[in-house]
């Protein structure tokens, strides 16, 4: 049971850290920049 709770806590910590990092990174922008996973040209925004 405690292992499962540790996993839940870990997942929450990672999610919080990742979203916090994203918030810091996009603090001076609107967060609409696109990312490209596989070298494909990024299309113009909608």
């Amino acid at each position: 049971m405690s292992r499962k709770l540790t996993v839940v806590l870990f997942a929450m910590l990672v999610l919080t850290g990742a979203m916090g990092l994203k918030a810091v990174v996009t603090a001076h922008g609107n967060g609409t920049a696109a990312l490209s996973a596989n070298g494909v040209p990024i299309p113009p925004p909608f």
Binding site: T6, A11, L15, H28, G29, L35, P43
Partner: protein, 232 residues
């Protein structure tokens, strides 16, 4: 309109992605790194699909944009599972695969919920915005997970050279994406001048993996702790 450099980068990226799968098959490592290969195979197929849509409808068409954003979301999800498979490989001896799977599903569900909560307010193109937001958020989740995995590799004194190189290249890939993302938000004018940067980063990951699988034997060992600790 795409420049010749765009086409070359795109072609090279697809070639490198296919070469990862070919190298894995040749070195009989396809099953061991199944999710990594699945991601690369999927990525190469998506590239071909995007090429077809681009030729048929054009670069500025809605079709290309929709295809791009949905396929990117699917690609990032498959990259996420590739990263989780690396966790399974690192923690294999601890017999905690069940907990790794549970954590992966919880984290993916949490990220999806967070993304939905972010785009919930937008009325138009909500599904597209959700796919876009989910792929962005998963990049940052992947970045944090990769650094945590690197910490685990150091702590557990993992010595498999191939695994270490794959994780390190993934760390560089996610870090470069995060840095580019930060620049694009801080200085959009500067970002448009270095438009080739993201596709080039997308090229380098399959190249690094193909090189690692081709050149590094499965039994090769390395001491990652030596990379992290500076001896005086």
């Amino acid at each position: 309109m795409l420049s010749p450099a765009d086409w070359v980068i795109w072609f090279l990226a697809t070639l490198f992605e296919a070469s990862v799968v070919v190298c894995s098959l040749h070195r009989r490592a396809f099953r061991r790194y199944f999710f990594l290969n699945l991601y690369m195979l999927f990525s190469a197929l998506v590239s071909l699909g995007q090429f077809r849509v681009l030729i048929h409808y054009g670069y500025s068409s809605l079709e290309y944009r929709y295809f791009y954003f949905y396929s990117q979301a699917l690609l990032v999800i498959s990259l996420y599972f590739a990263l989780i498979s690396l966790y399974s490989l690192v923690f294999h001896e601890l017999k905690v695969e069940r907990y790794v799977r549970l954590g992966a599903v919880l984290l993916l569900a949490g990220t999806a919920l967070f993304s939905y909560a972010t785009v919930n307010q937008s009325s138009s193109r909500m599904v597209t915005h959700f796919a876009f937001e989910l792929s962005q958020n998963l990049y940052f989740v992947g970045l944090v997970l990769t650094y945590v995995l690197w910490g685990a590799i150091l702590k557990l004194r993992e010595t498999r050279a191939l695994l270490v190189q794959v994780v390190l290249s993934l760390g560089v890939y996610f870090s470069a994406h995060a840095a580019t993302y930060a620049i694009s938000n801080l200085r959009p004018d500067l970002f448009f001048r270095m438009g080739y940067l993201l596709p080039v980063i997308g090229c380098l990951l399959p190249l690094a993996w193909a090189y690692a699988i081709w050149r590094v034997p499965e039994e090769a060992r390395i001491e990652p702790a030596r990379l992290a600790v500076a001896h005086r």
